[in-house]
Symmetry: C2
Subunit: 403 residues, 2 copies
């Protein structure tokens, strides 16, 4: 018998409770011991929920129960979640988390603590919702020297961009629709400004390259400045705009990690990832490119990843940690400013101005473009070279082109 | 120290030797003990190879070496490979295999034997080349009741179909090109007749649904009868032709498994999988659809999966098996004849004949169609109902439409 407590009875927490119950027989058979939901910690009561009788309000009930083996943390944030995770690990309980902010910010110390206490700290659900990615990355691709991770890591922004591309909605209209459909929060900042993607690329980069990467080491740009004009210009040259999180291993071993919208060729498998779906491509020296695709968020997909971790922890009660990486530091990352790529530029200016600045570039066309607007793709160059070359042009949107 | 022997120094075997050497430092660090290639078994000598000094010709050298821990079987087929695998497991050695034919035919008994001997029998490389699929299926998606596996499982046929679709090559010309590029064997039968896909869907189905599925329980149709006319008609209705292996859990718990070319909507993520790439979609009750994409064959991608298994076996020397399923039997599978779906029909006959037979179907058009040819998509029906309805039409190509 393995006893589980869920911290936080919100969307993910209630999904975990539902899945543990619905697929209970199947789960017990796979784990080869009964997995029982014993407590749900929340500040609220849920008298009408079938799980109402499991609600507790005091974390110390869970912390002090010697029969309690696994704590599922779905609280989010880094204050209470950090406190409870630390206390649970110190009390000899394995912890399973869907909290990307906590893992991206305090993952290294929590992994160390779990190792020291001889328990597991698992967080497959923190990246890509239900898509299996962290375990394949650390186990199945272990024979590779990995060189790059690149992914569409946020469903909300991908939904907004998809609606801008296919339905011609403005950013604001697409955001409002996403909120109406429950795909975006009332305060969508963390999604649309790229912070959610940033946390996820930190975790992916740490697993792939072996050192903790902190969110403040990752330059992050969201999609709020992407306009329908940009979508139209991208379409005119067979490309789509997607928000990507990237972590690229440099020859000196440092990791160039950043989040920004990019133009992608329509033939790139990531370009076909629509709506709230996520996809993560991994490049390795032996494997070439592999891609993992699926629902990056949502109650049951995320719960699916959490419960798989619970099952794994249940099979390895009091055994060693499964995911690990080294400490962070100033020597881990490198600015993307040195990264050479073609750029998409939409600017106030003229075709002559574009040619004077960037040579023989082809100007892009869109219906209804004002006459003082010019858009084009540059040759490969660094951002500094781009800024320097701009000449008479006043840039309005500047986006990297993925090659 | 963990000692490894490779059986068979062909494409995959030499890739494994290369990868173990090239990424040796990285591998040793991850496994936390040195992983050493000790023997390579082959009937030939390789005096010019850097691995020439590891060649042995007598399996009993490997079998009787008490220091030898892991045997990598890349021989292929089911005769010598079965004998050596059985003897290796009986001698207390873990076995890692890329041999889909052996796993699909004798997987259940070999898994049982490995369990009995307390060693591992791992075969991630047998499906999808380097794409991590078996471990994610059995571990990361373990919280789900899985309902369907559907995949492009063979790179050779996908290359041929891609060239027919995009370059307008006939089947024969595309096959010849695939052979010239090293993507198809001199005797391409196992690929183009679907047997390779069949073996892979057997393994995927066994892991997903828990019982051994034998290749002779899986109706298998290749792509040799697919013509450019079919490709053109599919294109005219926004679809692509892909060879799919499918395993679908039926309400009674049986598995409907088969291999056949299908028409897929261009928006389906599988439709965008081109050239020698493979992709596998998995449906689960919590996760919805997830897809795994990458190079399904080739020396280093396949070696990547083999070496990941070697690393996993090395970390769990003399521990329990990791993949498992129950015995096969007549009660495991169900014929796809009962499966209801729309059909693509290209027939000798007329539009009137098509309407008389199938009601208000829209006839498809292609340039240069002879006047006695008609093509259309039927409403959803079983194969028996389709055959019965055919009326005055003489079918030339009949393909399922994936919905």
């Amino acid at each position: 018998m393995v006893n589980v407590a869920i911290l936080g009875f919100g969307t993910v927490g209630s999904g975990v409770a539902e899945l543990l119950t619905k697929n209970g027989a199947h789960i017990d058979e796979k784990v080869e011991t009964p997995v029982r939901l014993k407590y749900i910690l929340d500040v609220r009561d849920f008298p009408d929920s079938p799980f109402g009788n499991k609600i507790v309000h005091d974390f110390s009930v869970i912390e002090k129960d010697p029969e309690l083996d696994i704590v599922v943390e779905t609280i989010g944030g880094t204050s209470v979640a950090l406190d409870f995770t630390t206390r649970a690990l110190c009390a000899g309980k394995s912890v399973v988390s869907s909290n990307k902010e906590l893992v991206a910010t305090h993952g290294y110390e929590l992994i160390q603590l779990a190792a020291q206490e001889g328990v597991s700290y698992l967080f497959e659900a923190s990246v890509g919702g239900g898509i299996p990615i962290l375990r394949p990355l650390s186990q199945c691709l272990a024979a590779n020297e990995l060189t790059e991770i690149c992914g569409i890591l946020n469903g909300t922004t991908n939904y907004i961009l998809t609606r801008m591309i296919h339905a011609g909605l403005s950013f604001d209209a697409a955001l409002a629709e996403a909120q109406a459909n429950g795909y975006a929060e009332k305060d969508p900042t963390a999604d649309i400004e790229g912070q959610d993607s940033c946390r996820k690329i930190c975790i992916l980069g740490a697993i792939a390259f072996g050192r903790h990467i902190y969110p403040d080491q990752v330059p992050t740009e969201g999609i709020t400045h992407v306009t329908l004009a940009d979508v139209a210009y991208a379409d005119s040259c067979g490309k789509k705009i997607k928000l990507l999180g990237r972590a690229i291993r440099q020859p000196d071993g440092r990791v160039c990690a950043y989040v920004a919208p990019h133009l992608l060729d329509a033939a790139n498998p990531l370009a076909g990832v629509e709506d709230v779906f996520n996809a993560i491509t991994v490049k390795g020296d032996a494997i070439g490119d592999v891609m993992f695709y699926g629902r990056g968020a949502g109650k049951l997909p995320t719960a699916s990843a959490v419960v798989a971790d619970v099952m794994d922890a249940a099979r390895h009660i009091r055994s060693r940690k499964r995911m690990e990486w080294g400490p962070g530091g100033d020597d881990v990352t490198q600015s993307p400013d040195g990264l050479v790529c073609p750029w998409y530029v939409r600017a106030r200016g003229t075709a002559d101005g574009a040619h004077a600045a960037f040579g023989d570039v082809s100007c892009l066309a869109r219906a209804g473009a004002p006459c003082e607007e010019v858009a084009f793709l540059t040759p490969p160059m660094t951002r500094a070279a781009l800024n320097e070359a701009m000449g008479t042009l006043t840039p309005e949107t500047v986006l990297r082109v993925l090659v």
